[in-house]
């Protein structure tokens, strides 16, 4: 069974319910945070008898109409994948027949993005979240950007899955409390120290420092360490000392 909800260019309508508006808002945040052109999210529930899918799309209505008119769902390679078997798809790696290449050429011509990335996030039991983002990056810069984007998308997939599951953002209630060591590492980042400098200051390894910062980012609900520092400062978790 297919359910499709469209937020053209990331705008919700006044008829959307609270959950739909929250998802639209989250998609807009993701677009801004990672510099994507378009973001779409789908949720698949593979129960014992059938698969139910809900799709939230931000493409323009003109593209969606064009897609439906040309029966592109029959050739779209993303439609043919069992998302229970993969965790990440670089659209450049997708096999393309002549029809599939035509779909991709149309996609690019319509300004929807030159490169795409899809990640699969296991929400619970048989429920999977599939988050796709398109970008306009020069081809030579893609390999270096991809891993960073993958990390950020994984974070946002976790966030938007909670919105879908519960209908509201839950990042205010942390499952795990931030620890003293994580606070220490955040403080030194706020003071402008590098990972190596923090490692020397705290007498711990460099990867230990980055591990603590990774954990702090997750608990504070932020995609980057600078955002984590900002959140920690705002929440009073860390305070910067004034110069004498």
């Amino acid at each position: 069974m297919f359910n499709i909800k469209v937020f053209p260019d990331f705008t919700s309508s006044k008829n959307d319910n609270q959950k739909e508006k929250a998802i639209c808002k989250e998609l807009a945040i993701i677009k801004q945070n990672i510099g994507a052109v378009y973001i779409n999210v789908s949720f698949f529930d593979h129960n014992s008898t059938t698969t139910e899918a809900v799709h939230f799309l931000t493409y323009p209505i003109s593209w969606i109409s064009h897609y439906i008119t040309h029966f592109y769902s029959n050739v779209d390679p993303l439609f043919k994948i069992d998302f229970r078997t993969v965790s990440m798809i670089d659209w450049q790696d997708l096999y393309r027949s002549r029809e599939q290449q035509k779909l991709l050429d149309n996609f690019i011509e319509n300004g929807l993005g030159q490169i795409g990335l899809t990640i699969v996030h296991h929400v619970q039991q048989d429920v999977y979240c599939v988050l796709s983002a398109t970008f306009n990056f020069p081809t030579e810069k893609w390999p270096s950007r991809k891993l960073e984007l993958l990390e950020m998308l994984r974070f946002h997939a976790d966030q938007i899955s909670e919105v879908y599951s519960q209908g509201y953002l839950v990042r205010g209630d942390l499952d795990y409390k931030i620890t003293p060591r994580e606070i220490e590492c955040l403080y030194w980042v706020a003071m402008g120290k590098t990972d190596d400098q923090i490692s020397n200051l705290l007498n711990i390894g460099k990867w230990t420092v980055t591990g603590h910062l990774q954990s702090a980012k997750y608990k504070l609900g932020t995609p980057s360490r600078s955002a984590a520092v900002a959140r920690a400062l705002t929440a009073g978790i860390i305070k910067l000392r004034r110069a004498a």
Binding site: T85, L153, D175, G205, W207, T210, G211, S215, K217
Partner: protein, 208 residues
């Protein structure tokens, strides 16, 4: 050959898992005495029913499991945060979807006795597969609790783990908790790949 057993494809690898669990029993129950043995001949704990990924090394000649490791996300219950919680400064340290725990790393010494280098080769392949899995899935760090000598051995062919803590257990074994960055492992595994002849990363992204 390396296989990745996820919750989605676990049904396809039942035979391999039924070789991996008895191997764990031989290593962790019979040899190390870390876990109490059960009469069914397998070592299966409560974490096996949670969301995890098994990385198994299959011997090319016999088709049997030569070794394996279980990967678990630190956002859920882990051995480190439950059984070995005293090895961390705080039980809430290292909790992130990008930090996974590697547990139940074991190699079949019975198979390796027939092949002089299989023990080391299996260990090497599994270690590379952990790094590949991490890099393919945006995992930034891998943590593990194991005998201290394993960290020294791993350092011989890859980057040294950073040791978070060390203790001596009731059997007199020196146990350490260590952390690796997957990107640092990846960069130093080039010669290891040449050694095993695996020039491509073990993990293959599956597409339609």
């Amino acid at each position: 050959m390396i296989v990745y057993v996820t919750p989605a494809n676990r049904h396809k690898f039942r035979q391999q898992l039924n070789q991996y669990y008895p191997l764990r029993k031989r290593v962790f129950c019979d040899k190390l005495g870390w876990v109490e043995a059960k009469p069914d001949g397998k070592e299966v704990d409560r974490f096996d029913s949670l969301f995890n990924v098994y990385i198994l090394c299959i011997d090319d000649e016999s088709g049997t499991v030569a070794g394996g490791v279980r990967m678990m996300p630190s956002t859920g219950p882990t051995l480190l945060h439950t059984v070995w919680a005293d090895m961390l400064p705080d039980n809430n340290d290292f909790r992130s979807p990008n930090i996974w725990e590697a547990t139940r790393f074991c190699v079949d010494e019975e198979i390796s006795s027939r092949k002089s280098n299989l023990l080391n080769r299996t260990t090497l392949m599994l270690s590379m597969a952990v790094a590949d899995f991490g890099n393919a899935n945006g995992i930034s760090h891998v943590i593990a609790v194991c005998e201290h000598y394993f960290f020294n051995m791993a350092g011989a062919y890859g980057p040294q783990a950073e040791i978070l803590s060390t203790k001596v257990d009731e059997n007199g074994l020196e146990i350490s908790c260590g952390i690796w960055s997957t990107s640092s492992i990846q960069s130093l595994l080039t010669w290891s790949r040449a050694l095993t002849g695996n020039v491509e990363p073990a993990i293959v992204r599956e597409v339609a």
